[in-house]
């Protein structure tokens, strides 16, 4: 009793509430997005693509960072979302927002079904199963040329103006703002989710599955749920990509894309909600700059960057920021 009163710690409930409260650094990404719009008007296409990858990485963070599922097949959902939105738009359904919703819904359904089948396993087995799923979908998309355009890519995507007002222009202004708004919505949703009891129980499962079983949490059901939610979110990111680039190629269903988004997230920091916001931009801008300087060998520098990150910056960039902050605070 005495100890409890003397320690300046918070009660568990208060801790939860506080951690949910918005702190000022959380506004930084949004300020950056806003500033970039005015500061770098000729980089808006890159900016839009970065935000799409941020949203995609954010959805992966739910699966990997919060639920602890290591997957190489997350692009399955990105790809399904992209093809869904793309095929809709190519067949005359050019309204962007509903295309986004349908893309997310179909991807979520695929996530639910595959999640039910494969989430009984863990570790390498699960990793390989996710890989098998994305590879099979990729092959299916290649075979279904009449629907997807096969290896030539899906053509003829024409979008209506956003809200009937804003045309998707060559400089990518509309696309940039559109992506920013969708990302904002996605972020608010994920943030709510991980601070809700549901999100807390995910972290519990990641840390100690056996104990969560013991306290009676429906572990598998929750894993499948979060897998489906993340799939839907990834589908929205994919749909966004299909709409802003007005083209869908088979590469959206490749394990290379899964690998790329995994790298971006780990690079930024896993299970932190903001790893995606740090990792994707830095990785993509670095790749853009390196491939511009050295179109043939930029791979080397990216590889080196990854190795150095692992060796000297465990926990990604945000992990390092945390360490520095702790040292300064001490």
């Amino acid at each position: 009793m005495f100890l409890y009163r003397a320690a300046p710690t918070l009660s568990p409930v208060e801790y939860m509430v506080r951690s949910h409260r918005l702190r000022w650094p959380e506004l930084l990404p949004w300020l950056a997005i806003l500033a970039a719009f005015f500061a770098f008007p000729s980089y808006l296409a890159l900016g839009a693509q970065v935000m799409i990858m941020v949203l995609f990485a954010l959805s992966l963070d739910l699966v990997l960072g919060y639920a602890g599922i290591v997957t190489l097949g997350h692009s399955a959902f990105f790809g399904v979302g992209a093809y869904t939105a793309g095929i809709l738009a190519a067949h005359g359904w050019g309204e962007p927002i509903s295309g986004l919703v349908v893309g997310g819904a179909v991807a979520g359904a695929v996530g639910l079904v595959t999640g039910l089948i494969i989430l009984r396993t863990r570790g390498l087995t699960l990793l390989m199963l996710t890989l098998a799923v994305v590879s099979m979908l990729g092959e299916a998309a290649n075979k279904a040329g009449w629907l997807t355009g096969g290896a030539d890519g899906l053509q003829g995507i024409t979008l209506d103006p956003l809200l009937g007002l804003f045309h998707f222009d060559l400089f990518g202004r509309t696309a940039y703002v559109y992506c920013a708004l969708v990302l904002l919505a996605g972020w608010m949703f994920v943030r709510r989710l991980v601070h809700a009891p549901f999100g807390r129980s995910l972290t519990g499962m990641r840390e100690n599955t056996a104990r969560m079983h013991a306290i009676g949490a429906p572990v598998r059901q929750r894993l499948v749920t979060v897998y489906a939610i993340a799939a839907a979110l990834a589908g929205v990111a994919g749909a966004l990509q299909a709409q802003t680039t007005q083209f869908v190629g088979l590469n959206v269903l490749s394990f290379e894309l899964s690998g790329a988004v995994l790298i971006m997230l780990i690079f930024g920091g896993v299970g932190r909600l903001y790893g995606a916001f740090v990792g994707a931009p830095i990785y993509m801008v670095a790749q853009d700059a390196l491939s511009r300087l050295d179109p043939e060998y930029w791979f080397f520098w990216v590889g080196l960057l990854l190795v150095v990150t692992v060796m000297f910056a465990r926990g990604g960039i945000l992990g390092v920021v945390d360490q520095i902050r702790r040292k300064v605070m001490r």
Binding site: T121, L127, A132, M136, E256, I266, V270, F299, G303, L304
Partner: protein, 290 residues
Amino acid sequence: MHEFISALVSILFHGLAYAMILYVVSVGLSVTMGLMGFANLAHGVFAMAGGYVAVSLMNGLGLHFPSAVALAVLAVAAASVVLERLLYARLYGAGEIEQVLFTIGLIFISIAAAKFAFGPTQQQLVLPEALRGEVEVAGRMFPTYRAFIIVVGAAIALGLWLGLERSQFGARVRAAVDNRRMARSVGIDTNLLFSLTFALGSGLAALGGALGGELLTIHPNYAIEHLVYFLTVVAVGGLGSIRGPFLAAVLLGVGDTACKYLLPDIGAFFIYFALFALLLWRPAGLFGRA
């Protein structure tokens, strides 16, 4: 009937040749992953290095095929220990995620390095006269070199199996795979053991890379292009097993070939479908411990 049997012989022969290469490259990965739980996605880099070194020894120094391959295996095995001690060892305690990021980084570096050193075109192994041409197997003509690969692969599988079942080294490896902490507490130096198995695994990968250059072409993107196949053999075979990857490789090699031969239009699906079905049936792999 005759045609059916002839098709069957074709499938078995080519499937087995393919399976042997998959096995020789992947078995080391299975053991090291089982032993240290290290998710080494960059295993294919050693196979690729084996191929490149063997080819350069033959073309550059004019060595003969057997000595070039042997030297390549030794060189890659030695280099892998250096890499293991300098870099891998620092990540044994780290999570899967760090290991994945690190080994993907290594793959990227290997792609750029291989292209830098050897150019973007694929490397060709010049076979000795004795291994060219065709031989008769079961009343049909088949490429000599593939027959040679089957024999060598089977010999390696047998040697590994006997070696790891009968020798003290093998007993230690198996003990460490089963329970690393217990093995350590009875005095087995698991770090040394790991370095040795890592070298063995990388050396075998180099052998597979060099011998298999005809089947899995040696070029800069090797490690990423064939990664899925290697991982599939390991996952289906079961971690830490010697027999598992062999059976898995035969299953996948022959199955893949059969599918390409009999149902070519869905041939590309086979490997993924087999992976999916087998892992759902036996999540820990054919010979893995649950």
